[in-house]
């Protein structure tokens, strides 16, 4: 069923790696908290792609799992990413309310 994926595993992995690197880069460099969270989403999605792809590889090599662990994991990633984003955005809003600024570099009262 997933034979296609298994054959082209490299492509999926390459894609997820690119997502991961881009995501990380975004997290570390964006001057906007919302942007940072977008980076987080990218990394999470990279992971989700990996899970799906590796599950296919595993199923293909006949080590079939009793349940669709990889697939389910990616579903959970999506759900949790959404929850996290919701909480994060709420907090960012509060920060904006308090400081009129959501550049993570400017939020630096607590230090030392």
């Amino acid at each position: 069923m997933f034979a296609g994926i298994a054959h082209n595993l490299t492509i999926y992995l390459a894609m997820s790696t690119v997502f991961f690197v881009f995501g990380l880069f975004t997290i570390l460099t964006r001057r906007n908290a919302v942007g940072v969270f977008m980076g987080v989403e990218l990394v999470l999605n990279a992971a989700a792609i990996n899970f799906v792809a590796f599950y296919a590889l595993k199923a293909d090599s006949a080590q079939s799992s009793p349940w669709l662990d990889g697939q389910i994991f990616s579903l959970f990633i999506i759900v949790l990413a959404a929850i996290e984003a919701a909480v994060a955005l709420a907090i960012v809003l509060r920060v904006f309310g308090a400081k009129k600024n959501i550049d993570p570099d400017q939020v630096m009262e607590l230090r030392g």
Binding site: L24, L28, D105, M108, E109, G112
Partner: protein, 699 residues
């Protein structure tokens, strides 16, 4: 004759009485009538009686090998395999018996003298009890000295030796309001302490070699050849002998540790008489006499002889220029001690000890007489202000004259007998046996002449001529009985009949009436243990006897005559005499040959104290601040360079920075890392993770 046990008990009682007197005086003295001076005086008098009994015993025995010993364990810390004991012990022999007799006698008389001399001084109500403490210290001192004399081992000897040092310290500094007294006391203690420490090291070496401190064991060990082996044994004996002699150098104020004794005259005059003339300084000589066999075994005797000869000459020269009556006597003490040491150095064991005894007696007399003069002159010590006191202090004058004749070595007086014996030995040794040591007899004879000169200078300046300070002189009158009686007794004892065998030996039935036969009972009774009689040297001694005696008498006479010419008849003006010598000689003498300067200004002030301050600064700065509090300064430099840390942060770090600032510094840099920017944190984490990955995973 008494049983040995009772003799030992008696010997123990001798120091015990003054000790008890000390305790009484120290704790309740000021509450007793007359502040308890009678306690001390009677205690020492009882001791004197005990000592006399022992002396009588010795006399009735009349055996050069008479020894009674007893010893008890004081401290036993050894095991069966490794025995180690320190013992207390009593050794009574002829040496000790004579010494005990002399010390108790002098001490008794000086105590008596003090009741007069000190009472006058401490008139002040507030200071009154000092009178009591004076007697307390005096008693403690006497007790220590007597205990030292009866010690049968070096260890206890050393202990009491040090206690005497303490008493000396306390008594020299007795006039404690005077800074000069304070200086003198610390100087005396420290200088002797240097000698004592060296002596202690010598004792350690001796103990390591022999395993005992007892004289009996030491003599036995020498006889059995414990120092056998030509090189090693000789070297060890020399080493030990040298160090023991260092103790003497300190205590008896020999060159180069002589500096303390003249200053010690800051103490009250009875103290000078007792400690710094008659007894304590003699303890140094007593020590080398006791350990003579050991010194003889090593190669240290010539050194001793030279030190003694040099000191005696050197001090005699200094004495000539002094005007302080006590200073003259102090230098003469140095000089006479030099004689004794010289005598030990040339092997004249008996002569040395004899001079110790005769000197103690006449020097005590001289000092007390000078004390009487000072007392009469209302504490004026400068001889230039005296003069013409002969009539006003007739008893003092006569007593002092006798003692002066004795010290000058005039025949018929005790000094002649003993000094003659020393000079003869020095001549035999330095003149005949070892001509290369010619300096020794020459110095000895020169000193004899000088001694006669300056002692008569003292007499003439004090008792003859015109009064320097009329007011004081005219008011001077004879001292009370408790002060002149001791002088008379001692003057009487300064007659040669008591020492010269031709009289005493015969009188008491131990010897022959041969004129010129010398000091019979002394020679017969006082013999060096262990050491074998050197026939050849005996022969040389005999040869040297007549020339030595003639020379010494001639020189003494010359000295007296010359002194008379200069100070009595003033035929030769003193100024002219002084001009004979180049200026640097005067300067050197005035500055005491620069020894005080060298020790105090150069060594202590320029080297020693700066060094100690350096050490303290080192401790404070290097060890404490830099190594421990660490890197504060380095940190400060770093701070100015980096400059971007919060100043208050650094300040707080530095101020609070008690231990290593290195952690503080690291902490500060860590905290700059923690700059509050969340993306920085993330970056740090990412980079660190990557590094770990590369470090562990790939490599």
């Amino acid at each position: 004759m008494m049983a040995n046990d009772s003799l030992i008990t008696l010997a123990l009682l001798i120091p015990a009485f003054p000790l008890v007197a000390y305790l009484i005086q120290a704790f309740v003295g000021k509450r007793l009538p007359r502040m308890g001076d009678w306690v001390s005086v009677s205690a020492i008098f009882v001791s004197f009686i005990c000592a006399s009994i022992i002396f009588a015993n010795m006399w009735s025995n009349f055996d050069p090998n008479w020894v009674v010993t007893a010893h008890w364990t004081w401290l036993d810390s050894g095991t069966a395999a490794h025995p180690f004991k320190l013992e207390l012990g009593v050794r009574l022999d002829n040496l000790a018996a004579v010494m005990l007799f002399m010390v108790t006698l002098c001490a008794t008389l000086i105590h008596l003298f003090s009741t007069g001399y000190m009472r006058d001084y401490d008139g002040k109500e507030s200071d009154g009890y000092r009178y009591a403490s004076f007697f307390a210290f005096l008693s403690l001192f006497t007790s220590a000295m007597l205990a030292l004399v009866i010690s049968d081992n070096l260890f206890t000897l050393f202990m009491f030796w040090e206690v005497m040092g303490l008493c000396s310290y306390l008594l020299i500094g007795f006039y404690r309001h005077k800074p000069s007294a304070a200086n003198a006391s610390i100087k005396a203690f420290m200088t002797t302490r240097i000698g004592d420490t060296l002596l202690f090291i010598g004792m350690l070496a001796l103990f390591t070699q022999i395993g005992s401190f007892r004289f009996d064991d030491i003599y036995a060990a020498i006889e059995q050849g414990a120092f056998g082996g030509e090189t090693l044994g000789f070297a060890t004996a020399t080493f030990i002998g040298f160090l023991i002699f260092c103790g003497t150098v300190g205590k008896s104020a020999q060159f180069p540790l002589q500096v303390w004794l003249p200053d010690a005259m800051e103490g009250p005059t009875p103290v000078s008489a007792l400690i710094h003339a008659a007894t304590m300084v003699a303890a140094g000589v007593y020590l080398i006499i006791r350990t003579f066999p050991l010194l003889e075994l090593g190669g240290v005797l010539p050194l001793i002889a030279y030190v003694g000869a040099f000191t005696s000459l050197f001090a005699a020269i200094l004495a000539i220029k002094q005007f302080d009556i006590k200073k003259v006597l102090a230098y003469s003490t140095l000089s006479q001690l030099g004689y004794m040491v010289l005598a030990v150095g040339v092997g004249a064991y008996t002569a040395s000890f004899m001079h110790l005894i005769t000197h103690a007696i006449f020097k005590a007399c001289l000092f007390m007489a000078s004390g009487a003069v000072i007392y009469a002159m209302h504490h004026e010590q400068d001889m230039r202000k005296m003069g013409d006191l002969r009539k006003r202090l007739p008893i003092t004058y006569k007593a002092m004259l006798v003692a002066t004749l004795a010290i000058s070595g005039v025949p018929l007086f005790s000094g002649f007998v003993s000094k003659d014996a020393i000079l003869v030995s020095a001549l035999a040794y330095g003149g005949f046996e070892h001509p290369e040591h010619m300096f020794l007899p020459i110095a000895g004879f020169l000193t004899a002449g000088l001694t006669a000169f300056y002692m008569f200078r003292l007499m003439f300046m004090t008792f003859f001529g015109e009064a320097g300070d009329k007011k004081h002189v005219e008011h001077a009158h004879e001292v009370p009985w408790n002060m002149w009686l001791p002088l008379v007794v001692l003057a009487g004892l300064s007659l040669s009949v008591l020492f010269s065998g031709s009289v005493t030996g015969g009188l008491l039935g131990h010897g022959d009436f041969v004129l010129g036969g010398g000091n019979e009972w002394f020679v017969k009774l006082i013999k060096a243990p262990v050491v074998k009689v050197d026939e050849h040297f005996e022969h040389l001694l005999h040869q040297a006897h007549l020339p030595g005696m003639i020379a010494s008498v001639v020189l003494a006479t010359l000295g007296i005559v010359f002194s008379w010419l200069v100070y009595k008849s003033k035929t030769i003006p003193a100024e002219k005499l002084a001009k004979l010598w180049p200026n640097f000689v005067h300067k050197a003498i005035d500055n005491l040959y620069y020894f005080d300067w060298l020790y105090k200004d150069v060594f202590i002030k320029r080297v020693f104290l700066p060094f100690s301050r350096l050490m303290a600064r080192f401790d404070d700065l290097i060890i404490d601040r830099i190594l421990v509090d660490g890197w504060k300064d380095v940190n400060a430099v770093v701070k100015t360079f980096i400059g971007k840390f919060d100043d208050t942060v650094i300040d707080e770090v530095l101020v609070d920075g008690v231990g290593g600032s290195v952690p503080q510094y690291l902490g500060a840099s860590l905290r700059t890392l923690q700059n509050g920017k969340i993306q920085r944190y993330l970056m740090v984490a990412a980079v660190a993770l990557l590094t770990i990955y590369l470090l562990i995973g790939v490599l």
